[in-house]
Subunit: 336 residues, 2 copies
């Protein structure tokens, strides 16, 4: 309720006890007589005392914080994930220190290091940095976790969703609808997630698709900007790396007079909240962020307790079919 300048010694003096006792009371240790504890608590409350996290951290060697690094907060997917992780963190009394790299791949190592300095543990979400850098960052940092990125030698440990099979499912859907030539809008250049999705699209050749690719990016603007290049390839279906990208594509398609899915089909990935509200609503794949977050925290909790990192788990995304996909146009794409 009040300021933060009151220290433990003032409380001790005011209550007529030693700072050790106050410390014990504040930590809720049972080894203090109920009366004394009550009195101390009373004094502390009255003075508006609250322990200094830093002093406490210095003494105990832990900060009570976990750091999280994400590529971009502007993608709803990431803060939904953060939120999901936060449920468990909150429950265990941890605060989350969130940092975004804003897709500046070169900054990731520094940001991760900085996070590690402030927190007891660090979670790297979809880091884009090269395996070498990742290895270097991991070096000597036993409490580092990795989400949605599988590194070379499994370091750092972590959890990744299976992006491959749902993307293949999307392709299968497209194939059964008569599509053949499809264009993949690539997302973040060094993203493992993006690589997996593209890998799946490539595999769709086995399904009879003819997959092409244009470089876009993990944002609305990137999707918008890459659309024309994709259309030049005369596809009947467009597969965006994620929903954000797909939303940009959708707008551009409308501008050039193409109807979705009549003239061309479009899919996203992630199932962010907005995807239900585009017109047409986006066919996409839903990553179970809640479950993923739960598992990530379980893992972090184990790591924080110096337990052996549990085996890598793979959650699975599921395809959500909505209105942006349909039968391939009989006479190919009608463009211009």
């Amino acid at each position: 309720m009040a300021s933060g300048k009151i220290t433990i010694s003032e409380v001790a003096r005011e209550a007529g006890v030693s700072i050790a006792t106050v410390s014990r009371v504040m930590q809720g240790r049972p080894s203090v007589s109920p009366d004394l504890a009550r009195r101390v608590r009373e004094v502390a409350r009255h003075l508006g005392y609250s322990p200094s996290p830093m002093a406490r951290g210095l003494a105990t060697g832990s900060t009570g914080m976990v750091g999280i690094l994400v590529p971009q907060l502007s993608n709803p997917y990431f803060h939904e994930l953060i939120k999901a992780i936060g449920v468990g963190a909150d429950h265990d009394g941890y605060r989350m220190l969130v940092l975004e790299s804003d897709e500046r791949v070169a900054d990731e190592p520094d940001l991760a290091a900085s996070l590690y300095a402030h927190a007891d543990g660090v979670i790297l979400c979809s880091p884009r940095m090269a395996d070498d850098d990742l290895e270097r960052v991991t070096l000597g940092r036993p409490r580092l976790l990795c989400v949605n990125r599988i590194a070379r030698d499994g370091q750092p440990p972590g959890i990744a969703c299976d992006m491959f099979s749902p993307m293949l499912d999307i392709c299968r859907l497209l194939a059964t609808q008569g599509h053949r030539r499809v264009v993949y809008f690539a997302g973040a250049p060094y993203s493992w997630v993006n690589a997996e999705r593209w890998r799946a699209v490539q595999h769709s050749a086995a399904l009879g698709l003819d997959p092409l690719r244009v470089q876009a990016g993990p944002s609305i603007d990137a999707g918008y900007a890459a659309t024309d290049a994709a259309l030049a390839l005369s596809p009947t279906a467009l597969i965006a790396a994620n929903d954000l990208c797909a939303i940009g594509v959708l707008t551009r398609l409308r501008e050039v007079g193409l109807q979705v899915p009549r003239d061309v089909s479009l899919t996203g990935f992630d199932d962010i909240p907005f995807s239900r509200h585009t017109l047409p609503a986006l066919t996409t794949a839903r990553i179970p962020r809640l479950e993923l977050g739960r598992q990530v925290w379980a893992m972090m909790r184990a790591v924080l307790a110096d337990e052996a990192p549990p085996a890598r788990v793979l959650a699975t995304a599921e395809v959500v079919v909505r209105d942006s996909t349909g039968p391939a146009p009989a006479s190919g794409i009608r463009y211009r």
Copy 2:
């Protein structure tokens, strides 16, 4: 590059100097001979030493962090604001500790206090708590700032955007387009921002409008859920508290077979990135987050330097007319 267990004394020992010297070097003080400084720096780098923020904090009495509390991270408006503030913070070497209350008004005081314990300064964005609580939270916390909330007696100090006149502009637009009966979708119950917007809508009576109101909320789902109640009031235009809300309304309107703006007009507020990509694109008001963020940081910087808090500044939002507004239907709304 490496772990965080190396302390200043190890560097000192390895370099054959005192910890005081190492400390000076790490702080970049000029009072160290260039050669020595270079050697120390070399050793530090080699050992992978990085100063402990906690120990440093304990010694200096500052954390190098500023806390930010927002109602919800799921609203792009807020993280755009956070990002804007972050530009200045980064520049001055501060880290931001972001917490969201998730619209749990009752938790705000605790969250703010917790933030204050970890940071040198705290920024409250659109806090919803009552004036009394706000006053209590402010008590004895000289480094608290408030964004988009004007409290009773100007405490805590801060910056707020003028929401009133742009909302009145929106109403004026509607009035000139022949609308008369309009319904306002109220946002967060205890939000100053929401109150200001509604106040403006009420004032639009002077423009010839007949403003009604339904309770919704600051989210897509809230807008969606409140739409039927609003339509029951037979309006020709709907004014959502913010864009998120408007997006939900739009979807529901489509479901019940109403065309925007032919059958009914719709407006949002904030101009989040998605609003350009809805169909029709949303007429809304753009809050200059970049400028706002800049000013907020300037103010925080002053506060952190113990300077007198500069006068309260008001930025101004501007109306962005897009496709969701149009002439009122001649024969009133066609519903059902």
